[in-house]
């Protein structure tokens, strides 16, 4: 049990690190997906230990949310890429005070 939790925490941490350290929109996005999956793992693990199936249901919901995010997010990334041939977040400096 605690191993699952540990793994999920680890995944979450890796995802968070990726979000903070990576400079490419796609990679940041993948890191975010990692975080979501960490949450899923935790849901399922908790559902299993507590015998409360709500956790499993929630994991399904999260998958759906993630899919919706993917759909829109990739669309945006594609649009940005087409507009400026780069997905590096650092290159996005159009908006400054």
């Amino acid at each position: 049990m605690s191993y699952y939790l540990l793994l999920s925490a680890l995944l979450f941490a890796i995802g968070l690190y990726g979000v903070l350290a990576r400079r490419t929109a796609i990679l940041i996005f993948m890191s975010i997906e990692l975080m979501l999956n960490a949450a899923n793992l935790a849901f399922v693990a908790f559902a299993r230990t507590s015998g409360n199936l709500d956790g499993q249901v929630m994991a399904l919901v999260v998958i759906a949310l993630a899919a919706a995010e993917v759909a829109v997010g990739l669309g945006i990334i594609v649009a940005v890429f087409r507009a400026r041939s780069s997905t590096s977040v650092d290159d996005l400096a159009e908006l400054r005070g």
Binding site: M35, A39, V80
Partner: protein
């Protein structure tokens, strides 16, 4: 129930009307839908309602926040006219997306189930990612991408918080008792996730870029409805976990950082939307101050309404000036001469945001400070008040740029379509609710407690 269904059907219908009719029809349709939702909200005002096995709870608290969101949506729809016409892009999707976002916000506010909150959150956010990009130029895409990445991170953090909450309490409904390190971590993650959405410093840094880059009417919507929805969830979570120990200090630190940082950075901005973005950050801090009171819901709701009207009005004015590259302060010059209605709206909005009576913004500030004072947080109130002075400086700067500087351009601004209606209505409400504060606040006192 009715409200939920009306909003839902409005959004769904708006998606399809555009295929058979011009975009204007979709707009009228959405407007009517939102008004109908408002009416249904009014009919059930003050009476708590619960459906779907308690997953959907339209208590007075939710009603208050929904009101704010619908107002934000209406303003965003009414003020858009010229903006999209200038861009040569009359997109019926705009209306559908706004309707979906309002629906999402409504769902988010009307539940104590974390899973449903997160669904509402996404239903609110995802249309906004698309809306932010809807001007289809680099600035707009950039805003959208940043908003999206940050929003997704926030959602992920929030979700992980939910997972831990589930582990610690064995359920998803807020208010269950919990303890231990997992519970504490869960609470912190939940609050951090929502702090992103409410744009509390230091989780705010996406705000200026996103507000500046997004199309002005979308920014309007973000600054009003989204903020309300995020705060609805924030307040519910906080009410459930209780404001004690580390949570208390964390929130206090967030609030102080927010009001000071938001106001101080706003001062040095050269672009109006960006300035108002920082101002909205600062206002988030003021709203959060109410949470220190014993009964924060009415004051928060009222503040949000006041803020939504004022900042919505300000953005509605900017919408008429924005040509897609933002509005430099110099471009505001001579506003009164170019369009008296815009000038009046701008003046009223800024004085209200600065918190000067007898405008609605004053009463909002007054009530949240009162609430915190009732909670005994005098130092916090004093510091926040001090920050309000800083705020007054840049609001004056914005006002001065519009009224007191010499005009570069003299040609009149012609307002068309629903825009004058929207601006006049908002101006009227800001003044009217300011003169008769009981009128607005009375609506929210019914929301006297967050149902746990």
């Amino acid at each position: 129930m009715t409200t939920l269904w009306i909003l839902f059907l409005t959004a769904l219908a708006a998606t399809f009307v555009g295929f058979f009719a011009p975009a204007r029809t979709a707009k009228v349709f959405t407007l009517l839908g939102l008004v109908a939702a408002l009416v249904s909200l009014a009919l059930g005002w003050g009476e708590p309602l619960s459906a779907y096995g308690g997953l959907y709870v339209l208590d007075p608290f939710a009603q208050g926040f929904t009101l704010v969101m619908i107002v934000g949506g209406l303003l965003a729809l009414l003020a858009d006219c010229d903006y999209f016409q200038r861009k040569g892009w009359p997109p019926f999707e705009y209306y559908a997306l706004v309707a979906f976002a309002v629906l999402g916000g409504h769902v988010m506010a009307s539940t104590a189930h974390l899973g449903v909150i997160v669904v509402g959150l996404e239903l609110l956010s995802i249309p906004l990612y698309a809306l932010a990009a809807s001007r289809r130029d680099e600035a707009s895409y950039e805003a959208s991408l940043k908003y999206f990445l940050l929003g997704a991170v926030a959602a992920a953090v929030f979700l992980y918080g939910i997972a831990l909450y589930f582990g610690a309490t064995g359920g998803f409904v807020l208010g269950a008792a919990g303890s231990g390190p997992i519970y504490a971590a869960a609470v912190m993650l939940l609050l951090a996730g929502l702090a992103f959405k409410t744009a509390l410093v230091p989780f705010h840094w996406w705000t200026p870029d996103v507000y500046q880059g997004s199309p002005a009417p979308v920014t309007l919507f973000m600054a009003t409805a989204v903020k309300a929805a995020a705060f609805a969830a924030f307040a519910r979570v906080l009410a459930a976990v209780g404001l004690e120990g580390p949570v208390f200090y964390a929130l206090a630190a967030l609030v102080l950082l927010t009001v000071f940082w938001g106001n101080l950075t706003a001062m040095v901005q050269g672009e109006a939307k960006r300035m108002l973005a920082y101002s909205s950050v600062a206002h988030a801090g003021y709203i959060a101050i109410a949470l220190f009171g014993p009964d924060p819901a009415p004051a928060m709701g009222y503040y949000l309404l006041a803020y939504a009207l004022s900042t919505g009005l300000a953005f509605a004015v900017l919408t008429q000036l924005d040509d897609g590259r933002g509005v430099r302060l110099g471009e505001l010059a001579g506003l009164w001469g170019r369009s008296p209605l815009l000038g009046l709206g701008w003046t009223v909005a800024l004085f209200s945001l600065a918190g000067l009576p007898p405008l609605v913004g004053f009463w909002g500030k007054y009530l949240v400070f009162l609430e915190a004072a009732r909670g005994g947080q005098y130092l916090l109130v004093a510091l926040a008040l001090f920050a309000a002075v800083i705020a007054a400086y840049y609001y004056l700067k914005l006002l001065g740029a519009a009224l007191f500087a010499k005009a570069e351009k003299a040609e009149k601004i012609v307002l068309s379509g629903s825009t004058p209606v929207g601006i006049a209505l908002a101006t009227l409400l800001v003044v009217l609710l300011g003169v008769l504060p009981g009128l607005g606040f009375g609506l929210f006192t019914a929301a006297n407690a967050i149902v746990r």
